[in-house]
Subunit: 338 residues, 4 copies
């Protein structure tokens, strides 16, 4: 009944096993380890992108900030949804790393629409040297509201950005969950839909702490490496990052872990709707249900852990996140206590 | 025979065991885990500093850059040895995080002296608003040259800095090795010698990847937290950092690991001197020996791995680093092949 | 008929005379000129603030960016109106200098209200270390929409900010015009209303190029000086900045120049309203009138210069700015051509 | 007898006249003034560089910092002489604007030599991602020691930099004095000698406050404009910058002013040598003489103003700078008082 965040889960057994194996003997440091070569091959293969480059860091904020800084000049505006993680939950890390400015684009349920993006694009960079220039686009999938962009929706947004020659970033802290929810392939969700750089999340989905920055335009790889080092994000014992990412991407583990998280998310959605809760669209592993007041205390007393959200008089709202380690038993106990 | 760096070693069994234990069940994220409270208590106890605060990151560059940024304004000069890690091996991370400027202070064998520091202090900040101001002092112990400052030597340097009201930082990437080499207590080597903030290394000495920033002046702890987050260095599954540091500091593990590394370093020093190599002062686990030309290829053929350094005609130089996992057998095979 | 901006006017004769006089002989550089002492005395006297400090720069963007950087940490949020000059017209200078993030606060006619500010204050800094912290308040008077805050309105907003211990900045690029429009004294409009730091505009109101940063809390003066130098804004021949500001503040020149600009602004307002144009509230020297389509081309043909703004079908909008050098003849020719 | 700095002089009559003329009527702001077009044409003509771009700012520190930031990435090292103005007298402005690191290159009398530059180039950027990369070269002419590089000397240094594909900057705060001292043409001293970007000084040589950033590679002009705005250095009443620079470059005024300064400098050199002072090489308008102790007080009592420098026991040192407004009478009175 621990639904506060998927990052309150531990690491999956396969990831732990990979750490143990990686610990044997001596290994070259700072990313020159043999496992990192295998990670690159896995990424290229899985994303059908034989030229792609990937670099590893340990936090999602680092991945996002480095991805943005590598693609947007200090005088650029980064178009992102009003409540994007990069805007609200990273204490200004993207601005710190890039110098750029976030341009908040409204949209329902965590999603920018072509209309709101077009409006933001039209009103930014129109005052010559006086205002920030159009810089890049940053989307999140799964979104911060628990919804999911389809590849077609992403392509529609990146097309608007590309008309201004803007690079496009996808914050994929829950990328595997988005793939599972849509059935899209990694390639369809990224470069085939106009994404130039991906933050490929591992931590929330069963790793200890590893995220990839995947460049579909490999020309910026050296700049990314320098920015990573300069940000203090180059691990000396890098083998432990490589090992996690290798195990994560091998044999579909990442998708199996996400499938479990999503299935438990859907079990929560269905069970809560059965019990007259309102549950906005939530196709992956995160939901923001609303119900009649009085449940919070009961659920908490029963041992449930999750975030309470502000709600209208007489109502209660919550954020619930299922993870790779959530079980049917967890969900069912929660629903019983509801 | 892997002497390239102590960061080519893996993690000690006790650290791995702690990771495995920490992986059980759910835990609060972002530093609110229970183990972090125990880490704080351990640090306060070991350093005899009941008010000290500690925050964890995963790389030494992050620890140094955050420590400096939290104590030096953008217009300050950071006095450090010419070849300090912060100056040569962090790709400008301290400047990126702080905006400050490094003022390179000369000194033999990796060590600033009171004379060279006094000279640098006298010639910095004397031109009013036109030049950078005196900002802070940053020392490294074990130094980048493998030598060690005694607490008295540190105190002599910090006294000069304190006369200008400057905060003093110690880069302790190999702090445990310095303690073992000098017999000093953690308190003697830090706050009792005028150190305000310590980068407490774990990674090189048997952890996977964890470093502490220890504030002996706790008033800046919240600023440090904000800078850590803003730099992308706040781990969501922070329990894995806490677990490493807890195990590292528990029951003297950190000192036992460093003692082994130092002992193997001294075995190398003695063995090489016996074999007519010149070995400058090297009381810890890192040495820069020089010998007659012709050894490099032979040693490499025998399987030895280490860095070659430029040397005069007819001579060869090397950097050798022993680690917690170096064995007497490793050393002896190296000496035999020499 | 040049109404594009008050910065398309030249400098007033008194300012030119002061430049000529300042040019005689040799003078100490970098702000140590004798005239600067007189400027400080003038500011302290005029603002009834015997402790105030003032430093001079040449552009409004520099004044704003330095004022903000000196009062807001990199992890702070600067609360400002959505269309504030600092947000839209400085290409990110405030962020560049401070590292801080602008938090856009909505409000009609260029003005933040206590309700919108309270809302922004309530939803910023509530997520602990994850989001930017409440940093400071920045208001503009005359606002970017041509409206004016009264001292009471400013006090109501700063009181909300002060409840969170936030410093308060006033962008007074058209400060003299705001004084004239409200009849407030400089003290009433600033420190008596809770303002800690003022950008005191000179350029738009008859100077060649000079702006003051006035600190009512003088403790940050040295930091401001260092930031000014570091930003490249410390003039070597500073006497020419001092001379302008001294002449500007002497004998009420600044208020006379602003009174002329405002009077011409009001003449435009009245004349346009007489001619059935819609003119939103515009008590100073800048107005945004709307009229039936067809006027733009006629006015332009007659020699009028101003900015066209987007308008609904069948309508036209304009921004008109009167300056110290605008004459009744200019206004009347415009109205005749209308 | 005011020899403290050439920036303690006022502005030349021709510059003042140009300011007065520019003040007539209305003019477009922010660099769109007609005079700026003429400045561009003048620069292209004088430098025999029909593609060159120039942008104006008001201080030398701004010109240098913007020139460097526009040509060096944040992870680059800027090679400059140990006592370069950018290193010692700008309070970190180049680092603030660029993020880059200054690499101090030793050299006698203010001048880098091919040998010292080659050494610095060889030891920077050799540690892969761990250290800053080779970024750019920045020279000063007239140097901070009062010496002068010939075009051939500059070419020898830029050739070393160009071998690493590094852009080359010339800090020409006293560029006209260097031209006069060497007899070189503007083109010979800049792009023909491998210079890509020039800080073209006006302020010290008879202007109120104007410096040009001249780009011989015009592709970076838009970036320079954005950085200028973002730094708060774009003047609204830009006509006053243009007017100064236009007058300065018209009809050889800049060279006549510099010729007078240099002639007075040489008169000081000769007169002091006649009086047994030691005067190191000083071919332009700045000298650092040394003489037997006892003169300082006498000269000061006679009304001389200049900087005292540290000297050996029994000796005194000074910095003397002649300017466009220094007269033979000034020099002769000084020599008489000596």
């Amino acid at each position: 009944m621990r639904f506060a965040s998927d990052n309150t889960s531990g690491a999956a057994p396969e990831i732990i096993a990979a750490i143990l194996k990686a610990n044997e003997g001596y290994e070259r440091s700072y990313g020159a380890d043999a496992a990192m070569e295998r990670v690159t091959e896995l990424v290229r293969d899985i994303f059908e992108a034989p030229e792609a480059e990937v670099r590893l860091v340990a936090t999602g904020t680092a991945a996002n900030a480095l991805a943005i800084a590598t693609h947007c000049p200090p005088w650029g505006g980064v178009f992102c949804q009003t409540h994007a993680h990069v805007a609200e939950d990273e204490c200004g890390a993207p601005e710190f790393y890039s110098g750029a400015k976030l341009v908040l684009v409204p949209g329902e349920q965590g999603k920018i629409t072509p209309a709101t993006l077009a409006q933001a694009l039209a009103t930014t960079g129109e005052s010559g040297v006086h205002g920030v220039q159009r810089g890049m686009l940053s989307l999140t999938n799964v979104t911060e509201a628990g919804t999911v962009y389809t590849p077609a929706e992403i392509a529609a947004l990146t097309a608007l950005a590309k008309a201004h020659h803007l690079p496009c970033h996808l914050d994929g802290a829950r990328f595997a969950n988005a793939l599972v929810a849509t059935g899209a392939t990694p390639a369809q969700m990224t470069w085939k839909a106009g994404i130039d750089v991906l933050s490929l999340g591992g931590t929330k989905n069963g790793c200890l702490g590893v995220e990839g920055v995947v460049l579909f335009n490999p020309g910026r790889a050296w700049e990314l490496e320098l920015r990573r080092k300069r940000g203090g994000h180059l691990f000396s014992k890098h083998r432990f990052l490589s090992a996690q990412m290798e195990a994560y991407l091998t044999g579909g583990l990442w998708l199996r872990l996400a499938a479990q998280a999503n299935a438990m998310g859907q079990r929560l959605v269905a069970g809560l709707r059965d019990r007259q809760a309102q549950v906005p669209e939530a196709p992956a592993n995160m939901l923001f249900p609303e119900w009649v007041a009085g449940k919070h205390d009961r659920l908490e007393a029963a041992g449930a852990v999750y975030y309470r959200f502000p709600a209208p008089e007489g109502r209660e709202r919550a954020r619930l996140v299922a993870s790779w380690s959530t079980t049917e038993g967890d969900v069912d106990r929660f629903l019983t206590a509801f």
